[in-house]
Symmetry: C2
Subunit: 338 residues, 2 copies
């Protein structure tokens, strides 16, 4: 590891209004510093691009403080340790953590998690074995509590979370309907992931299609998108339905008021619930989720797909692919070779 | 009982758009008919006026079929049996049930419930010992699950349901904040019902007042009103909060789109839930609720208040008092002396 290496970083330059513009970021460089006592130096190999990042750059109260102006953009990532002053972490170890949108990061050894790339490729640890997979696992199973024979609907079905939600629901014996944008994504979730049906919200009337594909109503609705699709799903709830609020990607870049679900009184007439969560609420149960998910992956019961873009310098445009719905599977940015 | 008695009835003449107008009703009369086998003839003494009635006259899917055009308006009520062909019901018995907005009703003896007016005055059986009381009881305790020391907020706090919700929450050791319209209602819920604080939504900024009165956030929010007040409460949720959707009286007469709660992502950041219900979901547990509520009433731990208007012919205007917020306590229409 050349100690005169340069660290390239994306910092937040301005709070975006609507979709983040290139001028909302500044691409800077600084020398890589030596790790201090207990710290490790990680070379970042993959930056995880997640819808939640849009929320992290808004001002105001949320589940974690916003990224400050001038701060390196927060991101999950995966990399390799190139220097270590921590007894439990060795040079060459692969790790994941909040590494930031940058080429190198110095972090405390306890703040990164070692992963075993002999069991799964590194990007999978920020995908189905990482935050999106745990989000699907705990949201569906802990909040949704799907029972065999029930109908589970998931929006963002071709995304990193939605694709896993539907596959777990199939393992649990449910009828699974995905909502996604475009014929190719719909083909992917039915033919490759094994969903029972898919609805293309770009070309179909979602409410009518839900009526067709969910004749007994929706028992579990896992929502990643909000907006009109959430309202369409609410209109088709079965009695005692559980709605899981995981995200609202259709609303994250809204410049006006957030659109609330105007059909929410469907909760009343159907004795139904709508429950929100973020995956960190389940931090103390990650090991349980990761263990079961790893088993499903290795036995081929769950498929994982990563949509890999390349080049740290392409971060601003690549992030926008999440909001235009251009990605299928987990969007990651490969920033370096090992 | 004179068998040539005339039955006056309000029938639904048209589906209201917005607030029901007098022309949406027809006031008709017909001869009182003799009860058939197993039936009883009830002289209606009190008609219950409830926000849910507005939903019953809309077209479309809900938890019960809508009142048809030309049908007697559906209403809960209390009366006295004046003729009986049912072995378990005697002339002179007091009963409650879905009696309709009319002077007399012939019903099957199994479709009415006998009540004991030596324990509580008859109107209380369509108030705190009836549907509104059971609504408060099961909604708060079964869905809200308030714990000692938690903060409970209820809207429509001076109404039939809200006033009971707050009093039960006090019995459970909670800090209780009511939201009501006007200084007199706020005085009533604090001084007479024992709430810790009240917010006058007509003269105060509700969000700022909630911040002041709920410094640790809202653990349980019991919503009767929807609209802006629901959004203000969502903005102040504590972690693991439970929101109970009991009604949305601010929205029932809306002629445009229903306003959805635009702050619903507060559920996500706070790992909170929003659950709806109608009291009939708890039909098999009424006896349990009624027994406990009767105990609280007789020991003075819960107070009940009925706001009694008079005259069947005044039904259309009296119903509107619910939507203008004119009533304090349970609104009932006395339609006859015994």
């Amino acid at each position: 590891m050349p100690m005169d290496a340069v660290n390239h970083q994306f910092k937040l330059a301005a709070r975006p209004v609507g979709l983040p513009k290139s001028s909302d970021w500044s691409f800077e460089e600084e020398p890589v510093r030596d790790p201090g006592d207990g710290e490790v130096l990680v070379k970042v190999l993959y930056v995880s691009l997640d819808p939640a990042m849009r929320g992290w750059i808004n001002e105001g109260r949320s589940y974690i403080p916003p990224v400050a102006i001038g701060e390196v953009m927060r991101a999950l990532g995966a990399g390799v340790v190139v220097a270590s002053n921590h007894p439990d972490v060795a040079v060459g170890d692969h790790v994941t953590g909040l590494l930031g949108v940058q080429g190198y990061v110095v972090a405390h050894g306890n703040a990164v998690m070692k992963v075993d790339t002999s069991l799964a490729p590194l990007p999978v640890y920020i995908s189905t074995l990482g935050m999106p997979g745990m989000t699907a696992y705990f949201g569906l199973l802990d909040i949704g509590r799907p029972q065999p024979g029930e109908t589970v609907v998931v929006s963002g079905a071709a995304g990193a979370v939605g694709g896993v939600v539907g596959q777990i629901a199939k393992l649990k014996g449910c009828r699974v309907v995905g909502i996604a944008g475009g014929a190719e994504k719909c083909r992917y979730v039915v033919e490759e992931l094994g969903f029972d049906a898919a609805i293309d919200y770009k070309s179909e009337n979602v409410e009518a299609a839900l009526a067709e594909h969910c004749p007994k109503g929706i028992d579990v609705y896992f929502d990643n998108v909000g907006g009109e699709i959430l309202d369409a799903a609410l209109a088709r709830l079965a009695r005692n339905a559980r709605v899981i609020i995981c995200g609202a990607i259709s609303q994250y870049n809204a410049t006006g008021a957030m659109r609330g679900p105007s059909n929410y009184l469907s909760l009343l007439v159907n004795h139904a619930s709508m429950t929100g969560f973020v995956v960190s609420d389940y931090g103390d149960r990650y090991a349980e989720g990761a263990r079961e998910m790893a088993g499903w992956l290795s036995s081929g019961k769950i498929k994982t797909r990563e949509d890999v873009a390349e080049g740290l310098e392409n971060f601003p445009e690549t992030l926008l692919r999440l909001f235009s719905g251009a990605n299928t599977g987990k969007l990651v940015l490969k920033v370096a070779d090992e």
